[in-house]
């Protein structure tokens, strides 16, 4: 009894479809006679009887798809019957992938495998990619070893990438120390409430803008230690003469504004196609409010006196705290100053307020011993750190600006003329 199989007609053929049977089961057929038409991915063709006999055991009716090698029917002597339907006996001949990997295929039904795979894929999506700070692989490894939270490290590499050197100069925060300070059982200290504070629109914007800043903006930092002895004396006089309670920061705003006039690259913005050098000097002044940071803008600060600046800052700060600031009162700065001196912070770095090219972080003025002409003397000193967008401001440009700033701050008479 001859078997009619689904023949492999091409190199890549694994199955074929029965289009129609030309003969019925039980019909007599002769060698060379067309039995059925099959369809492959390339051609339709007739399969012919290879011997004379009775067509029987049709296992795949018209329309059915059969794997290569499957017995479609038999041709044999009249009455010859197979014990069972041929199809049941046929192993799917063309399963080359499964055959090559029997172990893997044997483990689980294919359906389960695919579910499992999907799960794995989901788990592998790293959480919080969007907010991730750039850091070199080595920096991450070192930070992990030293127990340093990279979120607390300023990156000095391109695009603010935290590199090994940045981690090296960061002191680890003791995690075990935090545990030790936790209240002991039975402590009378009030239990602090844990709660989730939803993001306000403002906090959201601050987060977005500052993250945007530290992400694409290649920051670098320049710190100078300024002598403000004279400036403090002069401030006393100004208050005495005008009655306006100008702060040290108001003097710094004025000094920065004047210095910017001689350094247009610091009073600038980086754009995709060009760098904009701003014609006007508008100084943003960071003001802490209960909801967070706002930066009201002192427009044309280079054209305003210290007392004008003082009055305007006071008014804007008040509006900021009561959330009455209008957009054109906090937009359009060309440079920003952030002062944490009143909190006793000696020195810090600030994140650039885009699209500014730089920000000045002002620390507290304090009396410190300095060497002056070979003598140790006590002077009022103040450290300021400028963060620069390296795409616009190169190191030397920033340093040059700070030299000018120093002249204004250390010879404060210049601020009044």
């Amino acid at each position: 009894m001859g078997e009619i199989i689904m023949p492999k007609m091409g190199d890549a053929m694994t199955e074929g479809r029965v289009v129609r049977w030309h003969k019925k089961a039980g019909e007599k057929v002769t060698k060379g006679e067309a039995l059925l038409e099959i369809e492959t991915d390339k051609v339709n063709l007739d399969l012919e009887a290879e011997e004379d006999g009775i067509l029987d055991n049709i296992a795949f009716e018209a329309g059915a798809v059969a794997p290569v090698g499957a017995v479609l029917a038999t041709v044999g002597a009249p009455g010859a019957k197979r014990a069972e339907k041929p199809a049941a006996a046929v192993a799917p001949a063309a399963a080359p992938v499964a055959a090559a990997e029997p172990a893997a295929a044997a483990k689980k039904p294919s359906g389960e495998i695919s579910v499992h795979e999907k799960k794995t894929a989901e788990q592998e999506i790293p959480a919080g990619v969007a907010g991730r700070r750039r850091s070199s692989p080595l920096a991450r490894k070192m930070a992990a070893q030293k127990g340093i939270d990279l979120a607390l490290v300023a990156g000095s590499g391109p695009g603010g990438r935290i590199v090994a050197a940045d981690v090296e100069r960061t002191r680890p925060v003791s995690r075990t120390g935090a545990t030790a300070l936790a209240p002991a059982p039975g402590s009378r200290l009030p239990v602090l409430e844990a709660k989730v504070v939803p993001l306000t629109a403002m906090r959201r914007t601050i987060a977005k803008r500052l993250a945007e800043s530290i992400g694409p903006v290649p920051h670098f930092f320049l710190t100078v230690d300024l002598d403000v002895t004279k400036l403090l004396q002069q401030r006393e006089q100004v208050i005495e003469i005008t009655g306006v309670k100008a702060s040290v920061n108001d003097f710094i705003v004025r000094a920065v504004a004047l210095a910017l006039r001689s350094h247009p690259l610091v009073n600038a913005s980086f754009g995709d196609e060009a760098i904009t050098l701003h014609g006007d000097v508008h100084i943003g002044v960071a003001v802490a409010t209960p909801e967070g940071l706002l930066t009201p803008v002192i427009r044309n600060a280079d054209r305003k006196s210290v007392t004008d600046i003082a009055t305007e800052v006071r008014a804007l700060a008040e509006k900021a705290r009561s959330r009455k600031l209008l957009p054109d009162e906090y937009q359009g700065s060309t440079f920003t100053i952030s002062n944490l001196g009143m909190f006793g912070v000696e020195e810090f770095t600030a994140i650039i307020n885009p699209p500014n090219a730089a920000i000045l972080a002002v620390g507290a003025a304090a009396q410190r011993p300095v060497v002056d002409a070979g003598q140790v003397v006590v002077r009022d000193r103040m450290k300021v750190t400028m963060s620069c967008d390296h795409r616009v401001v190169d190191g030397a440009v920033g340093a040059d600006f700070l030299r000018t700033l120093r002249q204004y701050v250390e010879q404060p008479l210049r601020l009044l003329i």
Binding site: S136, P137, L138, A139, R140, K141, S156, G157, P158, V163, A164, A165
Partner: protein, 327 residues
């Protein structure tokens, strides 16, 4: 030890191996009567006769294919490519035949043959005569790709190539032919394939290179040292097999790597090496692996353009500084 040029080291290797084994023969265009375009084969015809020093027609596929037929029967043919640019004509013979027969025959035959000759940029040879092929051949399993940078390696590695059982693409660099160096006299001093070498130690950055670019890299390293930057320079010596263990070791120390190649950047050897470094010692890196390569254009003829198209010392120095965040 003798002081020999790279050219004479290759010549010496050929003579020693032809003296040692009568199955070694050499064939190529104008290698006999003409004595070779680069005079590597000068004097060989007279010494070994026309059956062992075969002047072929200009027919690279013919040369390589017949060499394959010889190698399978136990001869050790050396095919000289006047320049490797011409070997493209024989690509089917090299890649589809020489590289695969040992494998698809299930190891029934060996393929002891060498295809050698110069490659790389010369002086105003323009687009069709200035190319580098190590990555091209390095892509194909079944081949060995040697890129010697010194006279000693040129001699020792060519001897290994002739004595081996696999087809060797032996890429000389014409610009190195005049370079002098100490070369062992011992006719049995051979250099193995797949063994990279640290040629200069340094703690700050790893420079990976081979062939003529090694010379460039060493010169750059010397200049960097004047600025206090100590570069470790590694000579890969063979592109296939590629021994990157010394590179990984070095990067564990320096945390930054610069790979220098003369050929075009896309899909080049440097890309393969950089990817391997990233795969293997990812957590050791403090900066992206830098690549120094030729410009992505056919070689122009005009000298000033040509000089712009190939890597120079200052490119290596600049790449090192980028890797060190000192640019």
């Amino acid at each position: 030890m003798s002081e020999l040029t790279y050219r004479d080291a290759i010549h010496r290797a050929l003579v020693e191996e032809m003296d040692r084994d009568p199955n070694v023969l050499i064939m190529g265009e104008d290698i006999g009567v003409y004595e070779g375009t680069f005079r590597i084969t000068a004097g060989l015809l007279k010494k070994y006769g026309a059956n062992r020093v075969i002047d072929t027609p200009i027919a690279e596929a013919g040369m390589v294919g017949t060499a394959i037929g010889m190698a399978m029967l136990g001869l050790r043919p050396i095919v000289e490519m006047m320049t490797f640019n011409f070997a493209l004509v024989a690509a089917d013979q090299i890649l589809n035949h020489a590289a695969k027969i040992r494998y698809f025959s299930g190891g029934q035959v060996d393929m002891p043959m060498v295809i050698r000759g110069p490659q790389g940029a010369g002086v105003q040879l323009s687009a069709q005569h200035s190319q580098s092929f190590e990555a091209f051949y390095g892509h194909f399993p079944g081949l060995i790709v040697a890129t010697p940078a010194t006279p000693a390696d040129a001699k020792g590695m060519l001897k290994s190539a002739i004595r081996g059982k696999d087809p060797v693409i032996f890429l000389e660099n014409a610009a190195l032919y005049g370079m002098k160096g100490e070369v062992p006299d011992d006719p049995d001093a051979v250099e193995p394939f797949g063994v990279s070498r640290v040629v200069r130690e340094g703690a700050h950055v790893t420079i990976v290179s081979y062939s003529r670019m090694l010379v460039l890299s060493l010169a750059a390293a010397a200049k960097l040292a004047e600025e206090g930057i100590e570069a470790e320079v590694i000579d890969l010596r063979t592109i296939r097999p590629l021994d990157l263990d010394p590179v990984y070791q070095s990067v564990r120390k320096t945390h930054r790597a610069v790979v220098v190649q003369e050929q075009w950047k896309p899909f080049g050897a440097a890309g393969e090496i950089a990817a391997s470094i990233t795969e293997t010692v990812f957590d050791e890196l403090d900066a992206p692996v830098e690549r120094v390569t030729g410009e992505d254009v056919p070689m122009p003829y005009a000298r000033n353009l040509e000089l712009l198209a190939v890597p120079h010392e200052e490119h290596v120095i600049a790449a090192v500084k980028r890797a060190l965040y000192r640019d």
